[in-house]
Structure formats: C-alpha cells, structure tokens
Symmetry: C2
Subunit: 144 residues, 2 copies
C-alpha cells in the first residue's frame, strides 16, 4: 500500500509527506506560490512514470543515450471539473537510437507499463511525439 | 495550457520543472532514493486538489478549523499496469464543524470540483472517511 500524509499550512498551501520520506509542497498558481499545483504534479508524475519505463526498456535493449528530456502539455476543460481533456508528451532523446526501437519503448510504456498513463487514458487523450537528436546537428521527428 | 519539463538525471532519477517554477525530484522507491515516486506524486496531487477545494468551501460556509490533514492510501494492481485499484482518503479536521457541512464540502470536491479525483474515479474506487476533532478530546467518525 502506498500512503501519503498531507497537512494544511496556510491559505491554499499544503505539504505532502510520502512513504519514501519526500516532501512535496503544493499551492495554487499565483505569484510567489509556495509550490507546484496538484494538476502540475499529475503531469510531473506522468513524465516520471513513462521516463523511468523508457530508461529501463532502452537499457534492456542495450541502447545508450546522453540526454533525455520529456515535455508534457495538458489542455484542461473549461468547466468544472477542469480535467485534462488532452495530454501531449514530447520525448527528446539524444543518442544513436533507432526510431523503431524508440517508438516500441514509448508504446510499451504508455500502453502497458506506465501506471499513471494507464490511469489517465480512459478520460483524457494522450498523444506523443519524439525527437531523436543524432548526430547532434540533425533531428528525427515522429508523431503518434 | 499547463506545461511541465522533465529531465533525466541518473539511474531512475528525474527532475520535473513546472510552469509555476517549482522543481519536483522523482525516483524509484529505494533506500536513499532522491525523490518521491510518480505514483506517490499522484496521491499527493489528489490530496492537494481536494484539500484546496475543502479549504475554499469551508471558507465560503464561514466555518473555521485549527488544523486539517488528509491521509491517502492507494492499493495497486498486482499485474502491469500497476494502477491504483482503490484509493482511500481520510480527512482529519480540527474545529467546531458540523458533520453535515463537512460531508457536503467533501462530496462537492470529490464529485464536482477536484480535477484529480474526477480524472481517477473512472478507473479506481475512491472512498473516504472523515474525523472531526472537537472538542479536542472527542472524535466524530463517518465513512462513505
């Protein structure tokens, strides 16, 4: 069982303490807010989840990269509840990586292993693109 | 649009940077892990989301509390994708709060306002209980 304990601090600020002993400060989106918003955390969780899968899958494929970034963009509903209607993931990989292997790794994560994407995909449309930077001067692009 | 940029650091460690300028470190669950796990972040996001709603609703009801904590427990599937099959929220409120108003505030959050619960509830069973500590020596309990 995973457990998180969250305490109200002041105004709209909350601090969560995780089972792993990590502290997450949350606040609303405002100037000088104390922490990330809950909906930002959701996107961060998605990138961490799929990112860890892909690192693990590429390692099994014996493929190496020098840098790996994921940008995620969420488009929210205008009415309550303001859920993400669409989520776009942009995977940026730096290294000599065959595009078909990268696509396979991403699909395995999004469709099978990543708990976060698999909890969100029934209510939101998750799409992705990837960019492979190799050699450093060129870029391979692909959308799904 | 909400955007988060996440960078691979090493091993399974990632750092997310949110639109609000906050940094979230993520890692797998292990001794000396560098940050929270993505699935812990998901639970933290849920508590922050429903917590902020409830603070806001109680304020509109002109009800005051001295302390407010939320414990959340998630039970994961045994097979991939290891989504949360059940999520249990325990709201702990300290103050002279009428139970019916507290129930109304929680229900409004979970069912209508909280974007996170409304993204998760179609794939996971979300239940809650609340505890009102007032006067400090007694506790009112209720399950939904």
């Amino acid at each position: 069982m995973t457990e998180v304990k969250t305490t109200f601090i002041k105004d709209m600020e909350f601090v969560a303490m995780t089972t792993s002993g990590n502290k997450i400060v949350m606040d609303t989106l405002k100037e000088n807010g104390a922490g990330a918003t809950p909906m930002e955390l959701l996107l961060a969780a998605l990138t961490g989840c799929t990112g860890m899968d892909i690192v693990s899958i590429l390692k099994k494929m014996k493929l190496e990269f020098t840098k790996f970034e994921i940008v995620v963009q969420g488009e929210r509903a205008e009415e309550h509840p303001k859920i993400y209607k669409k989520i776009r993931l942009i995977y940026k990989l730096y290294g000599d990586l065959p595009p078909d292997k990268v696509i396979h790794a991403i699909d395995l994560s999004i469709d099978k292993y990543c708990s976060v994407s698999n909890m969100l995909k029934s209510v939101t449309e998750i799409t992705y693109e990837y960019k492979i930077y190799y050699p450093p001067s060129s870029v391979h692009l692909k959308n799904r």
